[in-house]
C-alpha cells in the first residue's frame, strides 16, 4: 500500500509516495536514481547494498523503505563534500582497495559506521566489523589497510 515517506537523503529532503514494504535498495536505485548501492545477493549475505541510516550501516536489500521515515540516509554518492573525497574514500583510493569495485560502496559505508563507533580500531576490530562483506576479487588486505589509514587521518573524528 502506498504511503508518504519523508526522509533526508544525502542531506536533501525527499518525499515519496511508495509502498512502504518495498526494500530501500530498489527505491534508491530505481525511484531515486542512486545506483551506488548494489544488488549482490538479495538476502543480506554480501553487503554490497550497504547504506547508512542515521549513521548506522544497514543492508538496504533487507530494509523496508518505511523504516527510513524521518531519518537520515547516506549513500556512497553523498559521502564526498564539494568534490573533496571523504578520508575513507581517499584511503580506499590510496590503498587501491578495490579491483572490480562492485562491493566498494558497501565496504566504504560499513567502514564509516565502524569508525564512528570505534575511531581507533585494531586490525582485529576491522576484520570483525567487515567480516560479513564479501569481495570476490580478494581486495581484503587493501581494505583493512585503507580503514587503518582512514582512522589515522581522521584522528578519531568521523564526520562528513
Amino acid at each position: 500500500m502506498k504511503e508518504t515517506i519523508q526522509f533526508k537523503l544525502n542531506d536533501e529532503s525527499v518525499r515519496l509516495e511508495v509502498d512502504g514494504e518495498r526494500m530501500l535498495l530498489w527505491v534508491l536505485r530505481t525511484d531515486l536514481g542512486l545506483t551506488g548501492p548494489k544488488y549482490g545477493c538479495g538476502e543480506g549475505f554480501c553487503g554490497s547494498c550497504t547504506v547508512l541510516v542515521n549513521n548506522e550501516a544497514v543492508r538496504s536489500c533487507q530494509y523496508p523503505v518505511k523504516n527510513v521515515k524521518g531519518k537520515d540516509v547516506i549513500t556512497v554518492e553523498g559521502l564526498a563534500k564539494g568534490g573533496i573525497l571523504h578520508p575513507i574514500q581517499q584511503a580506499f583510493v590510496k590503498h587501491e582497495a578495490m579491483q572490480c569495485g562492485f562491493c566498494t560502496s558497501g565496504m566504504i559505508l560499513e567502514a564509516y559506521s565502524l569508525l564512528r563507533k570505534n575511531p581507533r580500531p585494531s586490525i582485529k576490530d576491522i576484520i570483525d566489523g567487515m567480516e560479513d562483506h564479501l569481495c570476490r576479487c580478494g581486495s581484503h588486505t587493501r581494505v583493512v589497510g585503507a580503514i587503518q589509514t582512514a582512522s589515522d587521518e581522521m584522528k578519531g573524528a568521523v564526520k562528513r
Binding site: 526494500m23 545506483t35 549482490g40 545477493c41 549475505f45 572490480c100 567480516e131 564479501l134 581494505v143
Partner: protein, 723 residues
Amino acid sequence: MSDQKYPVGPLAEVGAPLILGRRGFLKLMGGGIFIFFSAGDELFLQEPARSQAGRPGLPTDFNAFLRIGEDGRVTLFTGKIEMGQGPMTALPLMLAEELEVTPDMVDIILGDTDLCPYDMGTFGSQTIRSFGPALRSAAAEARIVLLELASEKLNLPPERLQAKDGVIFDKSHPQTRVTYAQLAQGKTIERHAAQKPALKTPAEFKVMGKPAARRDARDKVTGKAQYAGDIRLPGMLYGKILRPPAHGSKLKNLDTSAAETVSGVQVIRDGDMIAVLHEYPDAAEAALAKIKADYDLPEAVLNDTNIFDHLSKVAPPGRAVAQGGNLDEGAKMAAFTIERSYLNSYVAHATIETHTALVEFKDNKATVWASTQAPFRVKDEVAQALGIPAQNVHVIMPFVGAGFGGKTRNTQAVQAARLAKIAGKPVQVAWSRADEFFYDTFRPAAVVNIKSGVSNSGQIVFWDYEVLWAGERSSQQFYSIPHHRTVVRGEWGGGRGGGESGHPFDVGAWRAPASNTNTFARESHIDIMAAKAGIDPLEFRLMNLNDERMKRILKAAAGKFGWTAAKAPSRRGFGLACADYLGTYLATMAEVEVNKETGAVQVKRVVCAQDMGVAVNPDGATLQIEGCITMGLGYALTEEVHFRGREVKDLNFDTYQLPRFSWLPKIDTVLVNSPEVPISGGGEPPIITMGAVVANAIFDATGVRLLQLPMTPERVKEGLKRG
C-alpha cells in the same frame, strides 16, 4: 568503458549502418595520426566473417588502433574490457613508454563495439602478454612517424632529434622543438604497424615497471562508476526470467494468473522463456514469485559424491600432450613408486555483480550495455537473437563487476534482447543470485591420476600423469624427469551439460582454467614423493629442476618466507608449491594452523614470488597477486558446488562460502624480473598454487594428506581420524 568524455555526438554515428567508408571513419575521428595494429595469435585475431561483413570500410587486418589527436592527446581504442584486472591503467603505461608521452596524455576507450576494432574477448591473461607487445610496437611506430614529420617541419635529419613527453626537439638545441599536437594538426595520416620497430629494453623504461595509480579508483569510491545494472533509459522495463528447479527439467503445467494480477506487469512466454516485465525490478521479482509451474525433473543420478567415479568412467579418450623416455625403463630405476588420484570439485565464479544486460531495440537497431568479457561475442549473439545484421548492434561497455571467465557466456544479453523486441521498450535483465549460481558455467570437477617413481638418490625417474576433465593447461610438468608422459582426457571448454557430456550442467573457463586442478595434483604429488624420500620439499624440488628461472623463483620465495630445511611433516605447518603459468613463473609458500577439534584450517601467512618477465605496473601486479591468493583460499578450503542430479543446491552465499576477512593471511609478494624473457600476464598465475600450497602445509602440520579439494573442516577431521 572509457576514462574520458569522448565526443559522443558524431561518433555515435559510426555505429549507424556502416556506409561510412574508411575515409569517413577517419574524418569522424577528427583527424590526427592513426596507427592500426593487430595483436595476439591467429585465434584471438580472426574476426568471424559475419561481423567482418558488418564493418565495411574498416580495415580488417588490425584489432586495435591509437590516435594522436590535433590537441596532442593520445587515444587507444581496444576491444579489451576492464573488470578490475587493470588494463585501463596498465595499457596506457605501455603506450606512453614507447610513444614518449606521459601517461596522463593517454586516454583509453575499451570494448565499445562501434569505436573499437574486433577483439575476441578479455580472458586467458592475454591482455598484457599478447596485446601488450603489439601495442608497444604500434606506439614505437607512431613515434617514428612523428620523428619523420618533425624532421620535415624542423628541417633537421631525424637522427638529430629526440622525443620526450610529447615534444620532439633538436638534441643539440633543445629550444628548437615541435609538439606532437602541432605535428598532428591538419593531418590525417594512417599507418599500419607492420614492421617491428625496436622496442625499449627494460633498462630504458621510464614509465613501465614503475607504480601507477588505478585510473578507475576515484569513480569506484564515489559510486560514479557505472555497471550494466546502473544504466537507465526512459521507459525501460526490468525483466525477470523463470528458472526451472533443475537443468533438463520439462515444464508440465504453468499458471501465471496470480502474477498477472500485479499492477503494471507483463507476463511473456517466448519459446522456452517465461518472463515477467515491470517498470520496477522488485515488482517484477514479486510477480515472478507468483508464477506456479510444475516440472518433470530428470532422474537424479549424479551427486557431488559419486561424480568422480562417473567422470572417471565416461572420460573421453586421452591425448598425450608431452612425453619423453620410456616409462617402463623409468619404473626399473625407481626405489619406490607413488600412485595417487586427486579430486577437484565444481566451483562457481560467484562474481558479486551478477550477469546483467540492458538492450534497447529501435528502428531495427540494438544498443546493448552488458556485463561481459566478450562484447563482440555479445554483438553477434544479440544480432542473431533479434534477426538483424551484426552491424546493427552496438555494444557499449560499462564497468564489469569481475568475470573470472564466467562472463564469457552472455545468456542474459540474449534474454534482454528478446524481451526488448517483444516489449517494444528497453529491457534490463539482471540475474538474481540464485540465477547466477544456477546458470553459471562452473569450473569442471576433475580427477588426476599420477604414478611416479623416485630413485635412491632422490631423483624423480618417471612420471605418468593423466588428467580427466580439467584440461591441458599447466598439465605438463617442468621438472627434469627422464621418463615421463602427460595425457589429457577432456577439456574445460568441451564439456557442456546434458546427457552427451560427462557433466550434469555447463562448465567453462574459471580463472586460470585447468591450471588450478593440475597444479594441485602435481605439487601435492611432488611433496608426497619428497616426504617418502625423507627430503625437505624445497630441496627435493631444487634437486629435480634444471630450469634456472624456476630455481631462482623458489629461492626468492624461500628467502622472503624464511624457509629452513626440514623433512615433512615437520609440525611447523609450512607448505610450498611452484608453477609455470603461460610463461609466468611463481613460487608460493604458506604457513597454516589446523584446529584438530574442528578441522578448521587458518592460513596464517603466504609468500608469493612471481617472475612475469617485467611487471608493467608493479602496483597492479601486486594487487593481482593478493587477490589471487585470497580468492584461491576459497577453492582450497570451502568452495564446492553441491548438487543432486541436475539440481544445483547452492544458490546463495549462505551455503556457498567465499573467503572472508577473518581468513586473511599475512601476504608478502616478491616480484622478480627476468628482462630476457617476454613479458607475461599476472591476472591469473598466483591463484593456481593455492590448493597445493595449503594441502602441503596441512600435511606438514598434521601428517594428514588430503587428496580432494576443497579441504573443508569435515574432510580435514576425517583425515585426522584416519590418521
